[in-house]
Symmetry: C2
Subunit: 336 residues, 2 copies
C-alpha cells in the first residue's frame, strides 16, 4: 500500500510540474490553445442541433443553418457568397460557425452581440431563409415532439423565438475544434510541428500577421480595415462596421476572421474572392502589411496555417421529428 | 461446469423453438420484417457516405444527394417536388432513399435497375445537380484525401464513375430501418401494436391495399397504374413506366412506393400532392380500390401505417476532405 501511494504521489508531482511548464510555454505565445466548452446544457444542445439541421425554419423547407454553415465542410459553404431562398446570391461570404463562440461579436460587421442574437437573423432575412420568426414558431408549435422537447428543456408552455435562438446558440458553443497540431505544440508536444511549419509561424509573428490574428481563435477579436496599406477592390458591396456604427471611419472595417481550420474555410475574405491560402496570404501581406512575401515565405506561412486545423465536431446526424397534419407546409415555389 | 452447460443447452433449445415459432408467424403475413443488411463493404460505405454528403458533386457546390434525400427527414426533402440547380422545380416527388435497396428498380418509372445505376443520374441531370460525370471526377481527383481513400477501397490508380456510384450505392444499402413496432409484432412481440393499429392492419389487408403494398418494403416491388378505378388528376406531367418501355399500356404506371417510414416521407404520391396520410389513404381507397373509407377506418389505417416507422440510420456526420489549390471551383451563379 505504502509503495503504491508513493508512486501515485510522485506521478502527481510530475504531472503538476509538467502542466505548470506547459502553461508557461503556451502563455508566452500570442496564440492560445482552444479549451473544450464548459457549462454546457446538453438537453439544450440536442434540441439546438435539431433546429440547426431543420430546413423547416426556412420558407422553402430547403435551407437550414447547416446549408451555409455546413459542418461537413469546416462550418462554411465553400462558395464565395451564399445561396439564399430562390437561389438569391448573398452579399457576403458565410463565416465559419466553428469556434464562433470565441468571436467578439457575430457577422462580418459585428451587428450581433452574440450567437443567440445572430441565430435569429438568417431565419427572417428575405435573402436567406426568407421566413419570419412567427411562421417558424407556428411550424415548431405544430410538431408534437418539438413541443415536448422545448417544454423539457425550457419548462415553459409555449415556444418562443428566444428559446429557439438560445438552443441553436448552445449547440454552436459546442462547435469548437481543439487539439490541432498547433495546439499540441502550444501544449508542449515539441515534435508536433515540422521545421517548415515552425518557420512559417515565425514569419507569421515577425511580419505582423499576429497583430490582428491572435488569441484563442487566431482572430475574431477585433475589427480592422480591409485594405490598410493598399485599398482592397472588393467584389462585394458590403461596407462593414460602418453599417452598424454609422461612422465613416468604420467603412471597410470588418471583423478579423478566425484562422482556425482555415484550410477548410475557403474561399477567403468577406467577398470570398481568394480561392487559395497562397493567394490570401499574398493579398494580406501586400494590402495589410505592405509586404511582398517570397514564394518560400508564403509556402511556409501556408504550412503553418494548415496546422490550425483542429478536431472537427463529431456527432450523430440528428433525426428530425416529422411534421403533423396541421404543420404549415413549406412554400419553395410560390411566385412572390 | 455441467450445470452451466445444461442451462446453456436449455436456453439454446428455447431460443430455437421461439425463433421457429416467430418465423412461422411472420411468414403467414403478406408483410415481412426488415433484416439488417449483409455482405457490406465497410470501407466502401464510409467513402460512399462522404460522397452522399458532398455538394461538390454538383455544379453549384450546394446540392448533395442528402439535399433531396435528407437522412434527417426520412430520406426525402418533404416538399412536393425537389429543388434543383438554380432553384429549378423538379417534375416529380423525391422518393425516400430509406430501404431503397429493397426496390425492384429505382426512380418512380424504374428506369434504373439498381442503386448504382440510379446514383449517377442526379449528378448529371441539368435540372438537379447539373454537373457532368467528367467534371465530378475532376473534382474528386484533385482532392488528395479522396484519391487515397478511393485507392484504398478499390485498389486502382484512377477514380472512375463506376467507383463513385458503387460507393454511394453501398452506403445506401445500409440505409434500412429495421425494428419498427410493426416488425416487432411480426417477430412475436404481441403487445407491440394497439387494438386500433391491429384493426388498421386488418383493414389494410381486407380492403386490398396489401395487393400492391406487400413484402419487406410494403411496396417497391411492382409497377401499378395510378388511378385504376378513377383517373388521377396529377399536378406532375410525368407519365411513368411508359417513358421506359415505350408502351402506351404503361402510361401512368408508377413503381408502388414503399410504406416503410411513411409517417416521415410526406407529401405523398409521385406529384407530392397529398400532404397528409389521411388524405393519401382516402385518395388511394377511392382511386385504386373504389372504396370510400369511413373516418374511423381511415384513422385506423393511418394508425397502422405509423407503426411502420423503423429505426432511422444512425451515423456520425461525415467530415469531407478539403479541396486543394487545383480543385475546380463550384459555379453557383454563372449565367448559363
Amino acid at each position: 500500500m505504502m509503495k503504491t501511494k508513493a508512486v501515485v504521489s510522485a506521478l502527481a508531482l510530475l504531472a503538476g510540474l509538467a502542466s505548470a511548464d506547459l502553461a508557461r510555454a503556451a502563455s508566452d505565445e500570442p496564440i492560445q490553445p482552444i479549451s473544450p466548452p464548459q457549462n454546457i446544457n446538453l438537453g439544450m444542445v440536442e434540441l439546438g442541433k435539431k433546429l440547426y439541421f431543420d430546413p423547416r425554419l426556412s420558407k422553402s423547407g430547403f435551407i437550414s443553418c447547416n446549408s451555409c454553415h455546413n459542418l461537413s465542410m469546416g462550418g462554411t459553404d465553400n462558395i464565395p457568397t451564399s445561396i439564399g431562398d430562390k437561389w438569391q446570391q448573398g452579399p457576403i461570404n458565410a463565416p465559419t460557425v466553428l469556434n464562433s463562440s470565441l468571436n467578439v461579436a457575430q457577422f462580418w460587421d459585428g451587428r450581433a452581440a452574440d450567437l443567440k442574437a445572430q441565430a435569429g437573423g438568417p431565419i427572417a432575412n428575405p435573402g436567406e431563409m426568407a421566413f419570419t420568426h412567427t411562421l417558424a414558431l407556428d411550424v415548431l408549435e405544430s410538431i408534437p415532439a418539438y413541443v415536448r422537447e422545448f417544454k423539457q428543456v425550457f419548462g415553459k408552455d409555449r415556444i418562443d423565438i428566444d428559446q429557439v435562438t438560445l438552443a441553436i446558440a448552445e449547440f454552436e458553443k459546442t462547435l469548437v475544434t481543439p487539439n490541432s497540431r498547433f495546439d499540441q505544440w502550444l501544449l508542449g508536444r515539441q515534435d508536433a510541428l515540422t521545421a517548415d511549419e515552425m518557420a512559417g509561424y515565425g514569419l507569421f509573428k515577425e511580419s505582423g500577421c499576429v497583430a490582428c490574428h491572435n488569441g484563442v481563435a487566431v482572430g475574431g477579436n477585433s475589427f480592422q480595415k480591409m485594405g490598410l496599406v493598399e485599398p482592397y477592390k472588393a467584389s462585394s458591396p458590403a461596407e462593414g462596421r460602418s453599417a452598424v456604427t454609422g461612422k465613416d471611419a468604420d467603412r471597410f472595417n470588418f471583423k478579423v476572421p478566425t484562422l482556425r481550420n482555415v484550410e477548410m474555410t475557403y474561399p477567403y475574405f468577406h467577398d470570398g474572392a481568394a480561392n487559395t491560402l497562397t493567394e490570401a496570404v499574398d493579398t494580406m501581406g501586400r494590402l495589410q502589411l505592405g509586404k511582398k512575401f517570397t514564394k518560400d515565405e508564403n509556402a511556409r506561412i501556408v504550412a503553418f496555417l494548415k496546422t490550425l486545423t483542429g478536431e472537427q465536431p463529431s456527432f450523430t446526424l440528428p433525426v428530425l421529428p416529422p411534421s403533423s397534419d396541421t404543420t404549415p407546409r413549406p412554400k419553395p415555389f410560390d411566385k412572390k
